[in-house]
Symmetry: C2
Subunit: 136 residues, 2 copies
Protein backbone atom coordinates (compact mmCIF):
# COMPACT_ATOMS: atom_id res chain seq x y z
CA UNK A 1 0.00 0.00 0.00
CA UNK A 2 1.32 3.44 -0.94
CA UNK A 3 2.10 5.82 1.93
CA UNK A 4 1.85 9.58 1.83
CA UNK A 5 4.04 12.06 3.66
CA UNK A 6 2.56 14.78 5.82
CA UNK A 7 4.84 17.76 6.31
CA UNK A 8 4.03 19.96 9.32
CA UNK A 9 3.30 23.58 8.40
CA UNK A 10 3.64 24.73 12.01
CA UNK A 11 3.28 23.81 15.68
CA UNK A 12 0.86 24.44 18.52
CA UNK A 13 2.15 26.57 21.40
CA UNK A 14 -0.10 25.88 24.39
CA UNK A 15 -0.22 25.72 28.17
CA UNK A 16 -1.47 22.13 27.78
CA UNK A 17 1.63 19.99 28.16
CA UNK A 18 0.29 16.47 28.78
CA UNK A 19 -2.56 14.37 27.53
CA UNK A 20 -4.02 13.96 31.04
CA UNK A 21 -4.49 17.76 31.20
CA UNK A 22 -6.27 18.10 27.90
CA UNK A 23 -10.04 18.31 27.61
CA UNK A 24 -11.69 15.86 25.22
CA UNK A 25 -12.97 18.60 22.97
CA UNK A 26 -12.12 22.25 22.53
CA UNK A 27 -15.43 23.44 23.91
CA UNK A 28 -14.88 21.59 27.19
CA UNK A 29 -12.62 24.21 28.74
CA UNK A 30 -9.65 24.25 26.37
CA UNK A 31 -7.46 27.35 26.46
CA UNK A 32 -6.43 29.78 23.76
CA UNK A 33 -3.32 28.57 21.93
CA UNK A 34 -0.90 29.92 19.35
CA UNK A 35 -0.35 28.33 15.97
CA UNK A 36 3.26 29.09 15.03
CA UNK A 37 3.72 28.63 11.28
CA UNK A 38 6.84 27.81 9.31
CA UNK A 39 8.30 30.76 7.34
CA UNK A 40 7.87 28.72 4.14
CA UNK A 41 4.06 28.89 4.30
CA UNK A 42 3.80 32.63 5.05
CA UNK A 43 1.98 33.29 1.77
CA UNK A 44 -0.58 30.59 2.57
CA UNK A 45 -1.61 32.17 5.90
CA UNK A 46 -1.63 35.78 4.72
CA UNK A 47 -5.44 36.00 4.60
CA UNK A 48 -6.10 34.51 8.04
CA UNK A 49 -7.66 37.32 10.06
CA UNK A 50 -8.99 37.84 13.57
CA UNK A 51 -12.65 36.89 13.84
CA UNK A 52 -12.57 34.12 11.20
CA UNK A 53 -13.76 30.63 12.10
CA UNK A 54 -11.43 27.96 10.78
CA UNK A 55 -10.83 24.23 11.04
CA UNK A 56 -7.30 23.43 12.18
CA UNK A 57 -5.96 19.98 11.29
CA UNK A 58 -3.22 18.60 13.52
CA UNK A 59 -1.13 15.44 13.62
CA UNK A 60 -1.72 13.99 17.09
CA UNK A 61 1.84 12.80 17.53
CA UNK A 62 1.32 11.32 21.00
CA UNK A 63 -1.53 9.00 19.89
CA UNK A 64 -1.39 5.23 19.42
CA UNK A 65 -1.84 4.24 15.80
CA UNK A 66 -2.62 0.54 16.32
CA UNK A 67 -5.97 1.02 18.08
CA UNK A 68 -9.12 0.01 16.15
CA UNK A 69 -11.61 -0.38 19.02
CA UNK A 70 -11.94 1.91 22.03
CA UNK A 71 -14.38 3.05 24.71
CA UNK A 72 -15.60 6.58 23.93
CA UNK A 73 -14.29 9.09 26.47
CA UNK A 74 -12.64 6.17 28.35
CA UNK A 75 -16.03 5.61 29.98
CA UNK A 76 -16.33 2.00 31.21
CA UNK A 77 -20.11 2.30 30.96
CA UNK A 78 -19.87 2.64 27.18
CA UNK A 79 -19.40 -0.43 24.98
CA UNK A 80 -16.19 -0.89 23.00
CA UNK A 81 -16.65 0.99 19.73
CA UNK A 82 -14.86 1.01 16.37
CA UNK A 83 -12.53 4.01 16.35
CA UNK A 84 -14.05 5.43 13.16
CA UNK A 85 -17.26 5.95 15.15
CA UNK A 86 -15.38 7.90 17.84
CA UNK A 87 -13.23 11.03 18.10
CA UNK A 88 -10.47 9.17 19.99
CA UNK A 89 -6.99 10.46 19.12
CA UNK A 90 -5.86 6.82 19.01
CA UNK A 91 -6.53 5.70 15.41
CA UNK A 92 -4.50 4.60 12.35
CA UNK A 93 -3.98 8.15 11.05
CA UNK A 94 -4.17 10.38 14.14
CA UNK A 95 -5.42 13.59 12.54
CA UNK A 96 -7.12 16.06 14.87
CA UNK A 97 -9.94 18.35 13.66
CA UNK A 98 -10.41 21.51 15.67
CA UNK A 99 -13.00 24.17 14.93
CA UNK A 100 -11.67 27.40 16.39
CA UNK A 101 -11.95 31.17 16.08
CA UNK A 102 -8.94 33.31 15.24
CA UNK A 103 -8.40 35.81 18.06
CA UNK A 104 -5.29 37.62 16.81
CA UNK A 105 -2.47 37.34 14.28
CA UNK A 106 1.17 38.47 14.65
CA UNK A 107 3.19 37.60 11.58
CA UNK A 108 3.69 33.83 11.57
CA UNK A 109 1.81 33.47 14.89
CA UNK A 110 -1.97 33.03 14.98
CA UNK A 111 -3.88 32.93 18.29
CA UNK A 112 -6.95 30.65 18.24
CA UNK A 113 -9.72 29.73 20.71
CA UNK A 114 -10.37 27.13 22.05
CA UNK A 115 -7.80 24.45 21.23
CA UNK A 116 -7.41 21.16 23.11
CA UNK A 117 -4.25 20.08 21.23
CA UNK A 118 -1.07 19.70 23.30
CA UNK A 119 1.93 22.00 23.20
CA UNK A 120 4.20 21.05 20.31
CA UNK A 121 1.53 19.25 18.28
CA UNK A 122 2.23 19.59 14.54
CA UNK A 123 -0.24 21.69 12.53
CA UNK A 124 -0.83 20.18 9.08
CA UNK A 125 -3.62 22.27 7.53
CA UNK A 126 -6.05 25.13 8.12
CA UNK A 127 -9.35 25.46 6.25
CA UNK A 128 -12.15 28.00 6.41
CA UNK A 129 -15.46 26.84 7.88
CA UNK A 130 -17.96 26.44 5.07
CA UNK A 131 -21.14 28.14 6.11
CA UNK A 132 -23.53 26.67 3.63
CA UNK A 133 -26.16 29.32 4.23
CA UNK A 134 -24.00 32.44 4.21
CA UNK A 135 -20.92 31.71 2.16
CA UNK A 136 -22.16 30.87 -1.29
CA UNK B 1 11.44 19.00 9.88
CA UNK B 2 9.97 15.61 10.85
CA UNK B 3 7.56 14.02 8.38
CA UNK B 4 4.66 11.76 9.25
CA UNK B 5 3.36 8.86 7.21
CA UNK B 6 -0.30 8.58 6.28
CA UNK B 7 -1.41 5.05 5.50
CA UNK B 8 -4.62 4.76 3.46
CA UNK B 9 -7.37 2.79 5.23
CA UNK B 10 -9.38 2.43 2.02
CA UNK B 11 -10.27 3.95 -1.34
CA UNK B 12 -13.15 5.86 -2.91
CA UNK B 13 -15.08 4.05 -5.62
CA UNK B 14 -16.96 6.69 -7.62
CA UNK B 15 -18.33 7.55 -11.05
CA UNK B 16 -16.21 10.74 -10.86
CA UNK B 17 -13.03 9.90 -12.75
CA UNK B 18 -11.41 13.28 -13.45
CA UNK B 19 -10.98 16.52 -11.61
CA UNK B 20 -12.79 18.50 -14.32
CA UNK B 21 -15.93 16.43 -13.63
CA UNK B 22 -15.94 16.93 -9.89
CA UNK B 23 -18.08 19.55 -8.18
CA UNK B 24 -16.28 21.93 -5.83
CA UNK B 25 -18.19 20.70 -2.82
CA UNK B 26 -20.28 17.63 -2.09
CA UNK B 27 -23.52 19.57 -1.90
CA UNK B 28 -23.07 20.95 -5.43
CA UNK B 29 -24.31 17.85 -7.20
CA UNK B 30 -21.81 15.19 -6.14
CA UNK B 31 -22.92 11.56 -6.48
CA UNK B 32 -23.13 8.75 -3.98
CA UNK B 33 -19.84 6.88 -3.72
CA UNK B 34 -18.50 3.76 -2.03
CA UNK B 35 -15.76 3.78 0.56
CA UNK B 36 -13.95 0.45 0.19
CA UNK B 37 -11.96 -0.27 3.35
CA UNK B 38 -8.88 -2.40 3.83
CA UNK B 39 -9.50 -5.73 5.59
CA UNK B 40 -7.03 -4.69 8.29
CA UNK B 41 -9.35 -1.94 9.61
CA UNK B 42 -12.55 -4.03 9.70
CA UNK B 43 -12.81 -3.68 13.50
CA UNK B 44 -12.53 0.08 13.23
CA UNK B 45 -15.53 0.44 10.88
CA UNK B 46 -17.78 -2.09 12.60
CA UNK B 47 -20.01 0.57 14.18
CA UNK B 48 -20.56 2.64 11.03
CA UNK B 49 -24.26 2.33 10.27
CA UNK B 50 -26.71 3.62 7.68
CA UNK B 51 -28.14 6.98 8.64
CA UNK B 52 -25.07 8.24 10.50
CA UNK B 53 -23.46 11.55 9.53
CA UNK B 54 -19.70 11.29 9.37
CA UNK B 55 -16.70 13.32 8.25
CA UNK B 56 -14.57 11.42 5.74
CA UNK B 57 -10.93 12.50 5.43
CA UNK B 58 -9.22 11.77 2.13
CA UNK B 59 -5.75 12.28 0.69
CA UNK B 60 -6.31 14.29 -2.51
CA UNK B 61 -3.62 12.49 -4.44
CA UNK B 62 -4.09 14.47 -7.66
CA UNK B 63 -3.56 17.85 -6.01
CA UNK B 64 -0.51 20.13 -6.32
CA UNK B 65 1.34 20.45 -3.02
CA UNK B 66 3.44 23.50 -3.88
CA UNK B 67 0.56 25.98 -4.12
CA UNK B 68 0.29 28.64 -1.37
CA UNK B 69 -1.88 31.25 -3.11
CA UNK B 70 -4.89 30.55 -5.33
CA UNK B 71 -8.08 32.11 -6.64
CA UNK B 72 -11.10 30.60 -4.84
CA UNK B 73 -13.18 28.45 -7.21
CA UNK B 74 -10.80 29.46 -10.05
CA UNK B 75 -12.87 32.64 -10.35
CA UNK B 76 -10.81 35.42 -12.01
CA UNK B 77 -13.06 37.97 -10.31
CA UNK B 78 -11.77 36.89 -6.90
CA UNK B 79 -8.41 38.13 -5.63
CA UNK B 80 -5.54 35.68 -5.11
CA UNK B 81 -5.96 34.23 -1.63
CA UNK B 82 -3.73 32.29 0.75
CA UNK B 83 -4.65 28.60 0.44
CA UNK B 84 -5.35 28.25 4.17
CA UNK B 85 -8.27 30.65 3.67
CA UNK B 86 -9.68 28.46 0.85
CA UNK B 87 -10.89 24.92 0.36
CA UNK B 88 -8.70 24.40 -2.72
CA UNK B 89 -7.39 20.82 -3.00
CA UNK B 90 -4.01 22.32 -3.99
CA UNK B 91 -2.20 22.89 -0.66
CA UNK B 92 0.88 21.58 1.17
CA UNK B 93 -0.97 18.66 2.80
CA UNK B 94 -3.89 17.89 0.45
CA UNK B 95 -6.37 16.47 2.95
CA UNK B 96 -10.02 16.53 1.91
CA UNK B 97 -12.83 16.93 4.46
CA UNK B 98 -16.20 15.59 3.38
CA UNK B 99 -19.32 15.67 5.52
CA UNK B 100 -21.53 12.84 4.26
CA UNK B 101 -24.36 10.57 5.32
CA UNK B 102 -23.96 6.79 5.33
CA UNK B 103 -26.56 5.29 3.01
CA UNK B 104 -25.70 1.58 3.31
CA UNK B 105 -23.00 -0.79 4.49
CA UNK B 106 -21.93 -4.14 2.99
CA UNK B 107 -19.01 -5.63 4.87
CA UNK B 108 -15.93 -3.56 4.02
CA UNK B 109 -17.95 -1.33 1.66
CA UNK B 110 -19.78 1.77 2.90
CA UNK B 111 -22.00 3.84 0.60
CA UNK B 112 -22.00 7.58 1.38
CA UNK B 113 -23.78 10.67 0.02
CA UNK B 114 -22.73 13.06 -1.42
CA UNK B 115 -19.00 12.76 -2.12
CA UNK B 116 -17.05 14.95 -4.56
CA UNK B 117 -13.78 12.96 -4.25
CA UNK B 118 -12.49 11.22 -7.38
CA UNK B 119 -12.49 7.48 -8.02
CA UNK B 120 -9.46 5.90 -6.40
CA UNK B 121 -8.84 8.68 -3.86
CA UNK B 122 -7.30 7.26 -0.67
CA UNK B 123 -9.48 7.38 2.45
CA UNK B 124 -7.40 8.18 5.54
CA UNK B 125 -9.92 8.61 8.36
CA UNK B 126 -13.62 8.68 9.27
CA UNK B 127 -14.98 10.57 12.27
CA UNK B 128 -18.49 11.03 13.63
CA UNK B 129 -20.03 14.48 13.32
CA UNK B 130 -20.07 16.09 16.76
CA UNK B 131 -23.49 17.53 17.34
CA UNK B 132 -22.75 19.78 20.26
CA UNK B 133 -26.37 20.14 21.21
CA UNK B 134 -27.49 16.51 20.95
CA UNK B 135 -24.50 14.29 21.45
CA UNK B 136 -23.15 15.03 24.87
Amino acid sequence: MVEYHVIPIGRVESTLKERAQAPRQGDEGAPDAWLVFEPGVADGIRDLAAGAEVIVLTWLDRASRDVLVTRPRDDPARPPTGVFSTRSPDRPNPIGLHRVRIVATEGLRVLVRPLEALDGTPVIDVKPVLDRAAER
